[in-house]
Symmetry: C2
Subunit: 326 residues, 2 copies
C-alpha cells in the first residue's frame, strides 16, 4: 500500500449557495457550505478531501475554486436536483445576530456520505454540522480510527437528536460548539463545568466558539482562551466557524502535533484563518490569500494577547514592596 | 513638602449597601459601592485614599474593612441620612443579565466630593461612575495634573449628559466602558473603530469591558485582548468592574510604568483581581485574599492565554512544507 493512498484530512459536510445580507451589502447564491469553507481554509496547510453533494446547477467556476486549492473532490457527488441553499440577514447594527430567511435542503436532504477507499483511510477527519446519524455512519465507514476526529454540530440536533449526538460525541476527539450549545448539550449553565462534563463523555477537547469574543479550548488538564482577531470591518460572518475548523485541523494534520499545546496552537491558526473569512462575502478573501498575509496576521494575532513579563521579573508589585518612582 | 503628603492613588466614587440575589443565593445590605471595591482591590498594591459619602447607618464593622486594608478614609464623609442602597437580581441561568430592583440614592444624591490638600496632590486618580459634572469638579480641584487619570461611566450618563461626559473624557487618560457603552458613546457600531474614535478625543487608552469575555485594551498603536479568568463557580458579579479597575490602577500606581506594555500588564492584574470578587458575595473574598492566592491565580491566568511558539520556530506549517509524521 502506497502512502499516497491515505488521505491526510477529510471533511464531510455541505456545499451550498448562500444568499446573505449584511450591513456591508448582499450576495445572491454565493458559494458557501461547511465543507467548502473548511477545505479551502485547511488547503493552505495540508492536502484535503471533501465528501459532499451538489446539484446539477453547481457552477463549473465553483468546481474551479476547489481545483485552484488542489482539494480532492473525488467524493463530491453530483445529483439530480438543486444545490443546498441557505439565506439569512445579519443585524445591521450587530453582526452577531442573524435571521434565517430560508433553508432549501434540495439534494442535501438525501445526503448519504459514501467514502471511497482512500477516504476511509483518512488520518484526520472533520465531521461538519450534519445529522448526527450521518456523522455516526461516516465513523462506521472508516477503515482505521483516524488520529483525530473533530465534530461540529448545532442546537437543532441537540434539541431533536440528543441520543444520536451523544453517541457520536462519545466517539470523537474534539468538539466544536458555541456557548449556548455547550450549555444546552451539557445541561449545565456554567460554561467551564459544561465543557468539563462533555470531556467526561469522551472527547479530549471542547472548542467553545464565542463569535467576536474568540474561542475557549477546554482540555482535561488545561484551559486556553484566544480572542477573536479584532477587525475594523466585518463584512459577512458566514462560514467563520468552518474556516476556523479548517485552520485548526489543517494545523494538526500538517504537523501531527496532538499535544495539549499543539491543540492550542491549532486554535490560534484557526482564529487567524477565520478572521479572513468575515472580511469579505463568501470565499472572496479566503480563496485568494497569500502566505505573507496569513503570516503577518498570525504575528499580529500573537501580539494581541502576548503578556510581557512583569517589570520586576515574576513578582507582583505588592504594597510596601515597590513604590512608585517620582 | 514631605513626600508622604502626596497620595499615591485616589478614588472618588460610591460606598453602598447592596441587596442582591443570584443563582448562588442572596445578601441583604451587604457592603458595596465602586469606591469600596476599588480601594480594597488596589490596597494590595499601593496606599489608596477614598473620597465618598456614607449615612449615619454606616456600620462600624464596615469602617473596619477599610481600616483592615489601611485605606485612607479621611475623605469618607458621614452625613445625616442613609447610605446609598442598590438592589438587583441576576439571571438564574445567565449571570450576565441583571435587573435593578431599586436604587435609593439617599446621602449619595447630594454627594459633592471635597478633596483635602493631600488628595488634591494624588499621583493617580480613579473617577468611578458618578455624574460627569462631579467628575469634572474633582479634576478642577486637583492641585497638579495626576500622572494618570482613569474614568468609569455608564449608559445613563451617555444618554443624558453627553456634553459633560465628552468634556471629562477629553481630560482623562484611560476610559473604562462596556461594549454597548463604547458603541453608544462613539456612535459607531464597530467596536474597534468606536474605541479608536474615543482615543481621538484625548484618552490614551480605552478598556472595553466584556464581562465573562474579558477585556479589550485599545491604545493608539496597539490592541490587547485578555480573557476573563474562567470560573467554575460565579457567585455574584457585583463589583467586578471596580475591582478590575482597582487592580489596574494599583499596578500602575505601584510600578509607575505607564508604557503601552505597562497598561497591558495592568489589565492582566485587574482581571485577576476581578475574578476573585465574582467568586463570593460582596467583599467576602476580596477582603481576605492572601498574596499567595493572587500570585497563583496570576500564574494560572498567564497560562490561560500563553501561546507557545510554533513547532518549527516561527514558520507556519504550509502544505508541501511539513507533512504529518506517520
Amino acid at each position: 500500500m502506497k502512502n499516497s493512498a491515505t488521505c491526510p484530512l477529510l471533511v464531510v459536510g455541505s456545499v451550498a449557495y448562500d444568499s446573505v445580507k449584511t450591513s456591508a451589502g448582499s450576495r445572491q447564491d454565493a458559494l458557501g457550505g461547511s465543507a467548502m469553507y473548511f477545505s479551502l481554509s485547511s488547503s493552505y496547510f495540508t492536502p484535503v478531501a471533501v465528501v459532499a453533494v451538489v446539484g446539477e446547477d453547481f457552477r463549473e467556476r465553483d468546481v474551479g475554486v476547489f481545483k485552484a486549492h488542489r482539494v480532492d473532490i473525488s467524493g463530491l457527488e453530483r445529483r439530480e436536483g438543486k444545490t443546498f441553499r441557505w439565506s439569512g440577514v445579519y443585524g445591521m447594527e450587530d453582526v452577531n445576530t442573524r435571521e434565517t430567511l430560508y433553508t432549501q435542503l434540495n439534494v442535501f436532504a438525501d445526503f448519504s456520505p459514501k467514502l471511497n477507499r482512500e477516504h476511509r483511510r483518512a488520518r484526520f477527519l472533520f465531521l461538519a454540522n450534519i445529522h448526527p446519524a450521518l456523522q455516526l455512519d461516516v465513523l462506521r465507514q472508516m477503515e482505521f480510527r483516524p488520529k483525530l476526529v473533530a465534530l461540529d454540530t448545532m442546537n437543532f440536533w441537540i434539541g431533536g437528536n440528543r441520543a444520536a449526538l451523544a453517541e457520536v460525541v462519545r466517539q470523537v476527539d474534539v468538539l466544536f460548539m458555541d456557548e449556548g450549545e455547550t450549555r444546552q448539550f451539557a445541561e449545565e449553565a456554567n460554561l467551564i463545568r459544561a465543557a468539563r462534563k462533555i470531556l467526561s463523555m469522551g472527547p479530549r477537547g471542547v472548542v467553545v466558539k464565542r463569535g467576536e469574543h474568540g474561542v475557549l479550548l477546554v482540555q482535561n488538564a488545561s484551559l486556553f482562551a484566544a480572542p477573536a482577531f479584532p477587525l475594523e470591518r466585518v463584512v459577512d460572518p458566514t462560514g467563520a466557524g468552518d474556516t476556523f475548523a479548517g485552520g485548526f485541523m489543517g494545523y494538526l494534520a500538517s504537523t501531527g502535533d496532538l499535544s495539549p499545546r499543539g491543540l492550542q496552537r491549532a486554535v490560534v491558526l484557526g482564529s487567524v484563518m477565520g478572521s479572513f473569512t468575515v472580511e469579505s462575502f463568501s470565499m472572496e478573501r479566503l480563496h485568494a490569500l497569500r502566505h505573507e498575509e496569513i503570516e503577518a496576521r498570525y504575528r499580529a494575532f500573537i501580539e494581541l494577547f502576548k503578556v510581557s513579563p512583569l517589570r520586576n521579573g515574576q513578582s507582583l508589585p505588592w504594597r510596601n514592596a515597590a513604590q512608585p518612582s517620582d
